[in-house]
């Protein structure tokens, strides 16, 4: 049951880009700050919303 909820939470955090942000901080050795999040989300959205959403 715990594993199931871990997957559900992981999915929600993946959809919400929270996991991607954590990976970004880890990969670049950075710590969270409002400026860093803005930089990350600008970059993330540029790629994400250049693709069509499904019907």
């Amino acid at each position: 049951m715990r594993a199931f909820f871990r997957v559900i939470l992981g999915l929600l955090r993946e959809i919400g880009d929270e996991n991607a942000y954590q990976r970004h901080l880890l990969a670049h050795g950075l710590t969270h700050s409002p400026e860093e999040y803005r930089r990350f989300s600008d970059e993330r959205f540029r790629g994400k919303y250049a693709r069509a959403k499904c019907c």
Binding site: V7, I15, G16, P34, Y37, S41, A52
Partner: protein, 680 residues
Amino acid sequence: MRIVGRLFWILVAIVAACGLGVVGFERGEPVNSMWLVLAAAGSYAIGYRFYARFIAAKVMMLDDRRATPAERLRNGHDFEPTNRWIVFGHHFAAIAGPGPLVGPTLAAQFGYLPGTLWIIIGAVLGGAVQDFIILFCSMRRDGKSLGQMAREEIGKIGGVTALITVLLIMIILLAVIALVVVNALKDSPWGTFTIAATMPIAVFMGLYLRYWRPGKVLEVSIIGFLLVLLSIFGGQWVSHSPTFAPMFTMTGVALAIAIIIYGFLASALPVWLLLAPRDYLSTFVKLGVVILLAIGILFVRPDLQLPPLTRFVDGTGPIFAGKIFPFCFITIACGAISGFHALISSGTTPKMIAREWHAWPVGYGSMALESFVAIMALIAACALQPGVFFAVNSPAGAVGITADAAVATITGWGYPVTVNEMQILAEEVGEKSLFYRTGGAPSLALGMAHIFASTGGGRAILGFWYHFAIMFEALFILTIIDAGTRVGRFMLQDLLGHVYAPLGRTSWMPGVIMTSAAIVLAWGYFLYQGVIDPLGGINTLWPLFGIANQLLASIALCVATTILVKMHRAKYMWITVGPLVWLLIVTFTASYQKIFSDQPRIGFLAQAEQLRSVADQTQAIKTQIFNAQLDAVLCAIFVVLVTLIVLDSVRTWLGVLKGTRDARVNESPFVVTQLRVEEI
């Protein structure tokens, strides 16, 4: 396979066969929806376990020793090896849109049987196979898009054709889904207020994420969801307010103009302010509602009130004209096979797959689940009384312009309904009237509201659930309009950049404004055309969208077959050629009928001819004549584009099979994975 396993799968097969048997042969008594659920779930399970596994092992030869692009190109952003069930949910959330909800609802005019069979068979043998193979192809090519693969594997013609087809489909898609929203909100102050409120809520969420609590997406989404729920109650209050109700009571044309202006602004505004927060919210709500609907159906187990086959199998249906073949198969696209999925399967998903075998549940399994959503939508629509279903979904042009005329026509078809019955239902859901609510969304919302209300609360809260369902549908449709307009703009800039370089730059403001306006005006024109159409617009636009979407699926299957042939798997090409041939027969027949049928309700040219014979040639009539001709030309363009790519593909296959053409596959090189189990 061990004996217990064999017995289990034999049991699943028996359950699926019984379900299909009851759905297919039961006549007279209403069929319980559980039979549809068993037929669908059993068929998907068998298809997943045996057919998809065969494709994975024998045809594509998935290899878990091979490093995926997620591992080789890992960058922490797009390329990241991810838990397979998280990728599964992510992919499912990306492919599930309004299509599997609206299409089956509209196709219910034939009865529940044709739609059910097409959704199940189409998904198991066609849609899920297409998604799975395209995901595999993209995964073996570092996450390349469908267009890139078409260009590399088939040739330049394939690439350009795919790009133009996608752009044209986007325009029709945006128009038709905007029309669904317009028809759902027309003369509905409650619904209009609720949807209007989602815009400041999204902006609040954007500002919250940007400045107040950066990075707290789940937190702000919960706040946003609570605010949206509040707005539903606010909408009820507005609908009773003598001051505010008229402000939010809008005609179809006014709503269309509002959505067109909104689309332009959303395309030009910063993404973080409106589009991204709304996208987060709508994705979470979408997943939540799908789960809620599944629980509701299992709990309520409604009987299907619509018959297995209605009288409209003869092609005289009021919702859209045309016989089961080919129109059922283009009306239901996303629940059975959808070309748009190929764009998602060659987008983000292949960059997240950690092991090649994970493509099996992600590619095939997600589509099976989406198909199940379509079955649930069909159940929700067919659980309505047939008279009510047709009264809601039929345009005034087909049943008469007064309520009395409409119920007389519908009752005359053998589906009894009264004005009083419709009035009580409208009052229960907080609407003035439920007549002529074409587009599928209101009848689906009614069906869902009945199921949700039956789990607790009864008819007293029918209004809340109806507007909750409308909000759910409109929320993610508007997100698709935002994102689609932006993507359309990028594609147009990409094309025009070859003509005048600055137009290709996404940072050049005049170019941004010009291309945004061009895309918005293009889909806005078709939306306006749908709104002023006396037959409700859906009769024209949904088949066009269906044809376009299935033709895109044909392109995807051409790419998939080409790759299989180049992989020396020609003996298995029937796996993709089978669905391809079926789609070409369906779409070419539908296109021919939509252009050349001598019945004005089906054929665009016959419709133009009929309008030309009207004595008083007003400007409105002239516009309708032009629109009918434009639709015929557009349909012909789709067919020509896909014919080009099919011929080009066949030429490639024959060349490779005869040995006169290079059979080199453009796969990325084999690298042994270094990924440890605990990392995924």
